[in-house]
């Protein structure tokens, strides 16, 4: 490329002041971003990718951070100009969008006002000019009926729409460089697809450069011309995206890529398959192993759900009269066999988590039948319920909030065992040590507190705690979603191992289609509280029938750079809401059998 780079970073070093010592978190990072180019910085949490982007914008607290090196933005050295001049650069020459669209807009001003303020400040437009320009920008980011939404407040927009507003705001000053820090991570997969498409289209229209920070290899493959892989503060590898994906040289790059679940990689396989383990030092990959023959088909299901309904009342008005209901779970039925993994997939608000909680009666369902290993769950009294809890346990999404910070992990793991009087204190200790070993930790860690562990380790502890009652069914609610890819692969492998050795049945709740494909025997797709498609994993993934299933699959970013440039066609569809007015009668649903056990909702 002969043109001068828009952004040129040379030997960037960023340090933070921690307990009186300077800790170097970004070391000697150098890269260029050329006009019209998209460069992705990819890495796991703690790799320094976000710090790099914040350093470029000089958005780190001045008294506790130090940035060395050279950052040239269109020929201007950003590290040598004053803070006042830097304010002119931010939002003008370079704009930034962030991960959390829910908190990055001011809730008390209309979105129109927030965008036009940028315009009148940076461009000196008059009020009416600013309004016209704002509407144009909102149209540009494909917000339907933009003119009418000018005076709406942020809470009237969905997450995806707010991210569009953020992008419109970033575009307001026609920046040469857009820095996008995990802009789609908090969004649902179909919305993520829309936003990625939007960024691609806008980049073509505006000719701007994009620096895209993400942890998701699928997103990288889809959007980036060149990629920088960061690991523990260093850029370990950089190059054209295709090079990185197909001929990555650094062992970490290869380890990272092998841990990325790919949708469609399971076409040849019948059973859930472990992730290949890659040695981070050598980059050698071990063969991935199928975990076969765990399912006890044909016998009585360990968990049978029939016509389960859970609704939450919506109240409003002076006397909090019920005015409607959230139909979170609407008439769903399925069976789960010993040793089987059934995945519930769907996007936020589809009722998949509520289903899991209703089955455990952590939420009181409105109606239906749940038979769990001989228990009639929905008709148990308190004592029966407590006994039932020995059979079914849960693993939560966020390992940082699922353990009591005031309890040692040993006490946390032993607690259920002691509570249900399954043995003496000594036996509880032995059990704890045994469980810690089972989940790949060492028994002498029992005396430590949760904050002393990493996210992946905490998730292992949560699994150990769930196992301490020797349950038959485990509800895993987004249990690997919050973890970094390499950790995610390890925890998935652990779950598969445990299923094999303990013959566990998993109700695996997830929005991540690629992981689901990897670990499930059967899959149920949920949409607005209903199961729209259910069947054996190969059948559902290779031959999806319901339009929503197809849409969901098409939206998943595939870590294959050859698919770059593919457009899904921007649709502005939003997720619909399951809130219904009082007296709403859900329609009778019909299911069609596509093949053996593969059912699709037809009407």
């Amino acid at each position: 490329m002969s043109e001068a780079p828009v952004l040129s970073v040379k030997n960037l070093n960023t340090s933070f002041l921690v307990d009186g010592e300077w800790k170097n978190v970004v070391r000697d990072v150098s890269f260029d971003v050329y006009p019209g180019e998209t460069v992705a910085i990819v890495g796991e949490s703690g790799s320094g990718k976000s710090v790099t982007s914040l350093s470029i914008m000089r958005l780190l607290a001045a008294n506790t951070s130090r940035i060395d090196g050279r950052i040239m933005l269109s020929g201007r050295d950003l590290l040598s100009i004053s803070e006042k001049e830097m304010r002119g650069v931010r939002g003008n020459d370079a704009a930034m969008i962030f991960q959390e669209p829910m908190t990055s807009l001011n809730p008390i001003f209309t979105i129109g006002r927030q965008i036009s303020e940028v315009l009148s400040r940076h461009k000196g437009l008059s009020k009416s000019q600013a309004r016209a320009e704002t509407v144009r920008l909102l149209e540009k980011v494909r917000i339907p009926n933009a003119g009418a939404r000018f005076d709406d407040y942020p809470h009237q927009f969905s997450g995806g729409m707010r991210q569009r507003v953020m992008i419109a705001m970033a575009l307001a000053s026609k920046p040469k460089l857009l820095i996008a820090d995990e802009p789609t991570t908090a969004l649902d997969v179909t919305i993520q697809g829309q936003i990625l498409d939007l960024i691609k289209v806008l980049q073509e229209e505006e000719g701007m450069s994009v620096l895209f920070v993400t942890h998701d290899m699928g997103v990288v493959a889809e959007i980036a011309d060149r990629t920088i892989v960061m690991y523990r503060g260093e850029a370990v590898e950089s190059g054209p995206t295709e090079e990185i994906f197909h001929r990555g040289r650094h062992p970490y790059t290869r380890a990272l890529l092998s841990a990325v679940p790919r949708l469609g990689s399971m076409q040849e396989r019948r059973w859930p398959t472990r992730f290949p383990f890659v040695d981070i030092k050598t980059g050698e990959a071990a063969e991935s192993v199928e975990v076969a023959g765990t399912v006890a088909n044909g016998r009585t299901p360990v968990l049978a759900v029939k016509n389960l309904v859970t609704r939450f009342p919506v109240r409003s008005g002076l006397f909090a009269r019920q005015t409607g209901a959230v139909h979170a779970v609407e008439n769903i039925s399925f069976d789960l066999f010993q040793g089987e993994t059934l995945s519930l997939v769907g996007e936020s608000g589809c009722g998949k988590s509520t289903t899991g909680r209703s089955i455990m009666r952590l939420i009181e369902p409105t109606g239906g039948d749940v038979a769990l290993d001989g228990y009639d769950v929905l008709r148990l009294d308190n004592v029966g319920l407590r006994d039932m809890r020995k059979t079914i346990q849960m693993i939560f999404q966020d390992p940082f909030s699922s353990l009591n910070p005031r309890m040692t992990v040993g006490a946390a793991i032993a607690e259920p065992f002691v509570k249900h009087k399954l043995g003496t204190v000594k036996e509880a200790k032995e059990k704890t040590a045994d469980l810690l070993r089972k989940v790949g930790l060492s028994p002498d860690m029992a005396g430590r507190y949760p904050h002393e562990f990493s996210g992946g380790q905490r998730q292992r502890i949560a699994i150990a705690r769930a196992l301490s009652l020797d349950p038959k069914v485990i509800v895993a609610d987004e249990s690997v979603s919050a973890l970094d890819v390499s950790i995610k692969a390890q925890v998935c492998n652990l779950l598969l191992d445990l299923q094999q050795s303990l013959n566990l049945a998993f109700l695996f709740i997830s929005h991540d289609m690629a992981v689901v494909e990897r670990v499930s025997h059967r899959v149920a797709v949920m949409y607005l509280g209903e199961i729209v498609e259910i069947g054996p994993r190969p059948a559902v993934f290779d031959n999806p029938q319901h339009p929503y299933t197809k849409k969901l699959m098409a939206a998943v970013p595939v870590p294959d750079p050859s698919r770059r440039g593919i457009r899904r066609g921007i649709s502005n569809d939003e997720l619909k809401s399951p809130v219904r007015s009082l007296g709403y009668q859900p329609p009778k649903r019909q299911y069609r059998e596509v093949s053996d056990g593969h059912l699709v909702q037809v009407a």
């Binding site: 849960m394 966020d398 699922s402 607690e415 259920p416 860690m445 990493s454």
Partner: protein, 291 residues
Amino acid sequence: MTTIDQASPVLAAKREHSRAWRKMKKNKSALVGAVIILFFTALAVTAPILPIIDPLATSWSAIRKAPSAMYWLGTDDLGRDILSRMIWGAQASLMAGVFSVAISVCIGVPFGLVAGYFGGWVDMVISRVTEALLAMPFLIMAIALAAFLGPSLMNAMIAIGLSAMPIFVRLTRGQVLAVKTEDYVEGARAVGLNHLEIMLRYILPNVMAPIIVQATLTIATAIIAEASLSFLGLGQQPPAPSWGSMLNVAKNFLNQAPWMAMWPGAAIFLVVIGFNLLGDGLRDALDPREA
């Protein structure tokens, strides 16, 4: 099994309080607070055996004398030795502070816990009553209660404790609402723990920090409230001394005898600071997350 990445250095299982104690010892300001409180407590406890003048003995020849070799801290309007009144007064004041706050915490925290945890009509009833109590000015309510119970130091402490209680209900409830939504609370239910176990083991330890801080601040308020009640004849009965009652009398002589106000004022100030420092230290020491 795949290997696990490195973890922080091994800490053998230690009993919780020994760890908290070690952390406490490293915290300089908390130690200063503890020393201040120990000092005043020691004075209060040893008052009967210290070689000091009778705090009730009046002397017409020594009215409002400035500090001297005979009267180290001076004398008051009836010629009583301020030093010995200070030392005896420490008893009443410290007790008023600690005991009334103990009452507030012991009643307020459980109510707040129950209201926040169960929600619904339980919360409705407790919260509305709390708000009604909060609508009444703290001191007015303490006076009314003390008058109703009859004048004595003990009744004054009960009155102050009950009047300060609504703050703890509210504070605890708010904290519980935040902690209740954490996954670990739902996890505890999933394991089969009952409500009491969840409240005591999962919620209470995680809401204690702001309660401890509030308690140390309330001790100061309580000491001053006891002074006001004494002034109205509802607290410590004259001529028995308390810092508050001494301060109340002294304000009439600020120009003629400033020392009369200075010493009890300084003592209240020091004790309040002492409790605050200690409270901050306790909060940090009891939190396993703080290194």
